[in-house]
Amino acid sequence: MAKITYIEHSGTEHVIEVAPGLSVMEGAVKNMVPGIDADCGGACACATCHVYVDGAWRDKTGEKNDMEETMLEFAEEVKDESRLSCQIEVTDALDGLVVRMPESQH
């Protein structure tokens, strides 16, 4: 299991144990963490699971593929740290990961 801290835009923290193999998005949705809509269900097709991941984790989360880059083009408040959480697969190496949410999903 990997312990992941989801921080809502308001600052509220949710610490969740997520099973390897799930996505970071699924870890939130299955545990009723608010702020991640995930309308498309994890197909990298809607950009409503937008989160910020600190650059220090980049080696362990892997890089964005072209489709994720493209979908993020149409999200709001996109930064270097922006990721679609459905595209990050949870592994034991992500134990301790912290993701922050934007003010809203579009």
């Binding site: 809509d37 995930a38 309308d39 498309c40 269900g41 197909a43 990298c44 097709a45 809607c46 950009a47 409503t48 489709m67 493209t70 979908m71 083009e73 149409f74 709001e76 003010e103 809203s104 999903q105 579009h106």
Partner: protein
């Protein structure tokens, strides 16, 4: 005005009356008389990627299952949106470039320029105004007597919203739904959605002339233009010369007008009808209005206000065991995907408290996903919050009259009587 009475629904072929090869769901009368559901149900079961051919639209693939639609919608490299996103091909001399019907990279540039108007940050600013208007509309309705919900609520509310997004002169706002309706007419005679092609063009050029004035007035705002669509387009270096091609300016105007008008308008009407047809769901709403945000997604799924989007394959590709050839027309039937039992639990039931209600395909997916999705959800949410405060029952008291169209799932009439809260 309507020809609805002149068409005998019994004359339309039943879905299970023909060999599957002959099945063609593109006749607008099927949708008008709600016969399309059985067509799509049969195709999903027997031939989910189904080839049709007819005189009007040529040869086209019908994509009817949720996952296949998703596969097409997210593969914009293979499935092109140019030159049009509806099943009918545009007239050669009147193809309107608009970003929904463009591929990368131009699509991305133009969409990103206007998206902030419809983004959550701007909607937070607009919400109090929208709520005030919703209240004014609802408080002006007649009590205890029959009226047309489409005209007095659905059209009025979406028109006011659209006028705000364009910063359009409020006193002329009725022009917006007029242009929208004209833009989605057909030249098929006998339809209740008919308009002769030349007359249609003439009206759309009037729309253009009106908006040229707004364009000229709004140039020169520099780096910080106002948040309306026209100011954003007229002041961005990438689009400030858009008006040099009148067809492209007109095309993008019509995209934003139709996109913001027909869709939410018909979901507003469709929600009232669905709750009347499912009294237990209406009881759930009365018992717990906190279900409204979830109900809004369910209403949008149930209505699917735009039935399809079309693409052209840019290379040969296999889909659902069928060989799609380069140049083939591919029609994604969102209206069918949203009733796909293999993707959505109890898909043919209207359940306002369903789990994962947001997982519907009415907004499309991928790079062309509806830009105004949050505008639509906000309007429906505020409307229903204010309805339940005032009325115990918005009662449908007669048969709805629907538009003859395979694209816009539209209502012309929805007779209702309001019952105030006791």
């Amino acid at each position: 005005m309507s020809l609805a009475e002149d068409i005998n629904p019994e004359d339309l072929p039943e879905a299970y009356s023909m060999p599957i090869e002959e099945m063609d769901p593109s006749d607008g009368r099927l949708f008008m008389h709600q016969k399309h559901w059985a067509y799509f149900e049969r195709m999903r079961k027997e031939d989910p990627v189904h080839l049709s051919e007819n005189e009007e639209f040529g040869r086209f693939w019908n994509i009817t299952k949720f996952k296949d639609i998703m596969a097409v919608d997210t593969n914009h490299q293979v499935f092109s949106s140019e030159p049009s996103i509806v099943i009918a091909d545009p007239p050669e001399d009147f193809t309107l470039p608009m970003f929904i019907a463009m591929d990368q990279p131009k699509h991305d540039v133009q969409r990103k320029i206007v998206a902030p108007t419809a983004a959550p940050a701007n909607l937070i600013v607009l919400e109090p105004l929208i709520r005030e208007r919703v209240c004014n509309i609802l408080d002006s309705l007649p009590i205890g007597e029959e009226f047309n919900w489409v005209e007095k609520v659905s059209i009025e509310l979406t028109t006011q919203m659209l006028a705000t997004l364009f910063d359009f002169p409020f006193e002329d706002r009725h022009l917006l739904p007029y242009w929208s309706d004209v833009a989605t007419t057909t030249d098929e005679e006998g339809s209740n959605n008919y308009m002769e092609e030349e007359a249609r063009k003439a009206v759309l050029w009037e729309c253009y002339e009106y908006f040229v004035k707004l364009w000229n007035e709004r140039q020169g705002q520099g780096d910080n233009p106002k948040m309306d669509f026209i100011s954003l387009l007229a002041n961005n270096p990438e689009t400030k010369n858009m008006n040099d091609d009148p067809l492209e300016y007109l095309g993008n105007l019509l995209l934003l007008i139709v996109g913001g008008n027909d869709t939410t308008r018909n979901s507003i009407s469709g929600g009232v009808l669905a709750l009347n047809q499912n009294p237990k769901e209406y009881d759930k709403l009365r018992a717990d209005p906190s279900v409204i945000p979830n109900m809004v997604s369910e209403i949008i799924r149930w209505q699917t206000p735009l039935a399809h989007m079309r693409r052209i394959a840019k290379e040969d590709i296999e889909l659902g065991g069928k060989q799609i050839k380069k140049g083939d027309k591919v029609v994604m039937w969102y209206i069918s995907g949203n009733r796909d039992e293999t993707e959505i639990d109890r898909a043919n039931e209207f359940l306002i408290d369903r789990e994962k209600a947001r997982h519907h395909i009415a907004f499309g997916f991928g790079i062309h996903r509806c830009m105004g999705n949050r505008v639509a959800e906000m309007q429906l949410k505020i409307l229903w919050e204010e309805i339940v405060k005032r009325f115990d029952f918005v009662e449908v008291v007669g048969e709805p009259e629907r538009l003859q169209s395979n694209f816009v799932m539209g209502f012309l009439q929805l007779p209702v009587v309001l019952h105030p809260k006791k």
